[in-house]
C-alpha cells in the first residue's frame, strides 16, 4: 500500500486474504459481543474473550502476512464498520495507531518471526478495547443529562462502573495478556494441524 516497490505491493491474492480474515474477525467479534454483551460483567470481558477465541484464525492470518499494510487494512475496515453500526469513531481513530503498531512489530520481525507475530496479535486485541472508549468519556456528560429521566441513584450507579479510573488500564493489560495466551494457543494449534497437513 504505502510501499512503492513492486515486489512489496499488495497484489490481488493478498487483498483476498485480507478480505477473508477480516470477515472471520468481524463475525467472531460480533458474535462474541452479542452473546456476552447482554450479561452483567460480560460486557467488560468482551475484549478478553475475543482475544482468546480469535487466536487460531488471526495467527493463521498473521503468519500469512508478508507485506506492509495488510493488518492496517483490516483495522481500517473494522473501524469503518464500527462507525456505520453506530459504535462511534473511536475504533477507527485509535485503531489506526494500534494497527500501525502491529505492522511495526511485524516489520521488526521481518514478517517472519513467529514470536513477533504473537506479540503483534496481542497488541491487535486492543482493537476491541477501543469500543469502550466512548463509554469512558462521553457517557459521563450524557448521564448528567439523563439524571432527570432516570433519577440520582441510577446515574451514580452507572457512572461508577464507567468512570472508575483503574478499570480501563486494567482492561487493556488483561486484554494484551489474553492476546498472548490466545496467540501462543493459536500458534500451537497451527503447528499441530496446519503445518502437519501442509496447509501453511
Amino acid at each position: 500500500m504505502s510501499s512503492k516497490e513492486t515486489s512489496n505491493r499488495l497484489n490481488g491474492k493478498d487483498l483476498m486474504n485480507v478480505g477473508i480474515f477480516t470477515a472471520v474477525f468481524l463475525v467472531i467479534e460480533i458474535i462474541v459481543a452479542c452473546v456476552l454483551g447482554v450479561f452483567p460483567m460480560g460486557f467488560l470481558l468482551i475484549s478478553v474473550v475475543e482475544a482468546i477465541i480469535l487466536g487460531i484464525p488471526m495467527m493463521l492470518y498473521f503468519i500469512r502476512v508478508k507485506k506492509f499494510g495488510m493488518i492496517l487494512i483490516t483495522v481500517v475496515i473494522n473501524g469503518v464498520i464500527m462507525i456505520l453500526t453506530g459504535m462511534g469513531p473511536d475504533a477507527l481513530r485509535y485503531g489506526f495507531f494500534i494497527g500501525l503498531l502491529c505492522e511495526l512489530i511485524m516489520y521488526w520481525g521481518k514478517y517472519k518471526s513467529a514470536f513477533k507475530a504473537i506479540l503483534a496479535y496481542a497488541v491487535f486485541g486492543l482493537i476491541a478495547v477501543t469500543n469502550y472508549i466512548h463509554w469512558l468519556y462521553a457517557s459521563e456528560e450524557w448521564l448528567e443529562g439523563q439524571r432527570a429521566n432516570y433519577g440520582d441513584a441510577f446515574v451514580e450507579g452507572v457512572s461508577g462502573a464507567f468512570s472508575a479510573g483503574w478499570v480501563f488500564p486494567v482492561l487493556c493489560v488483561v486484554t494484551v495478556v489474553a492476546g498472548l495466551i490466545g496467540g501462543f494457543f493459536g500458534k500451537a494449534v497451527l503447528k499441530k494441524h496446519f503445518v502437519k497437513s501442509g496447509l501453511i
Partner: protein
C-alpha cells in the same frame, strides 16, 4: 446462496436510495445518537432519529425487523427506568447501565441493517469507486461481504459433522474452540484459495479501471435525505460548538 448484501438489483418495489445516501444516513443517525446530549434542540431531534430506522425498515417491507427494532428499543428505553429502583446497587452498576446505553446503539445498528439489506454488492462497489476509495479497500470489502454467508454455511456444516460423530457435548472449552475453529479455518482457506484464483483469472489484478453494470446516482429522494442529514449534522456541530 444468499449473500448479506443482496445479489439482485434493488428494485422499484422499495424506495431506491443511492448507497452513498444510505451511508450518510447511517453516519447521521449514529453520530446524533452517540455524541449528542439530550439538551436544547436535540430534545426533539433524538426522538426523530430513533424513528428514522423504523420508517426505513417499514419501507423495505420487512415488518419483522421493524417490530423487532421497536420492541428492542422500547425495552431498552423503559425497562431500566422501571426496574432500577427495585434492584441492588451492584446490579444497577453492572447491568442496567448497559441496557440503558443500548438505547443509543440500537438505532445505529438498525440503520446498518437497512444499509446492507437493501444494497447489492455491485452497487456498493460502484458507490465506493465513485467516492474514490482505492482498490486496496474495495477488494477486501467485497470479498468480506462475499464471505459472511460462506462462514455461516461452513460453520453449520461443521456443527452437523460434529453432532454426527458425537463431539457436540460439553467438554473443555479450549478443546471445543480447537475442534470448531480448525476445520472452519481449513475449509475457509481452501475456499479462499479457489476464490482468489477465480478472481485473478477474471482480471482482479488488472490495472484498468473496473466497469460496472449498476447505474447508481442521486434522485430526488436522495437529495431530500442528504439535505435533512446535512442540516442535522450542522445542527450537531453548532450545538457542540455553542451549546444551543
Amino acid at each position: 446462496m444468499d449473500t448479506i448484501l443482496r445479489n439482485t438489483k434493488a428494485s422499484s418495489r422499495q424506495l431506491y436510495l443511492d448507497p452513498r445516501t444510505k451511508i450518510l444516513l447511517c453516519i447521521t443517525v449514529s453520530t446524533v445518537m452517540l455524541a449528542m446530549d439530550n439538551t436544547g434542540i436535540f430534545v426533539y431531534i433524538i426522538p426523530v432519529m430513533t424513528i428514522v430506522p423504523l420508517i426505513f425498515l417499514a419501507i423495505i417491507k420487512s415488518p419483522m425487523m421493524a417490530v423487532y427494532y421497536g420492541i428492542l428499543y422500547l425495552v431498552a428505553f423503559f425497562v431500566p427506568k422501571m426496574i432500577v429502583a427495585y434492584l441492588p446497587q451492584a446490579v444497577n452498576l453492572l447491568f442496567t447501565g448497559v441496557l440503558a446505553t443500548m438505547t443509543r446503539l440500537i438505532p445505529g445498528m438498525s440503520m446498518f441493517y437497512f444499509l446492507i439489506a437493501t444494497t447489492s454488492v455491485s452497487e456498493f462497489i460502484a458507490a465506493m469507486e465513485r467516492m474514490h476509495i482505492p482498490k486496496v479497500m474495495t477488494v477486501p470489502v467485497s470479498v468480506m461481504f462475499r464471505f459472511f454467508p460462506t462462514i455461516v454455511e461452513e460453520y453449520h456444516g461443521i456443527t452437523d459433522a460434529m453432532r454426527l460423530r458425537n463431539v457436540g457435548s460439553f467438554r473443555n472449552p479450549m478443546d471445543m474452540l480447537e475442534y470448531r475453529l480448525v476445520p472452519l479455518m481449513i475449509s475457509l482457506t481452501a475456499i479462499g484459495n479457489d476464490l482468489s484464483i477465480s478472481a485473478l483469472t477474471r482480471g482482479l489484478d488488472a490495472p484498468n479501471k473496473r466497469s460496472n453494470m449498476c447505474a447508481i446516482g442521486f434522485n430526488v429522494q436522495d437529495y431530500i435525505a442528504i439535505a435533512v442529514s446535512v442540516v442535522i449534522l450542522i445542527l450537531a456541530a453548532l450545538s457542540m460548538a455553542f451549546g444551543i
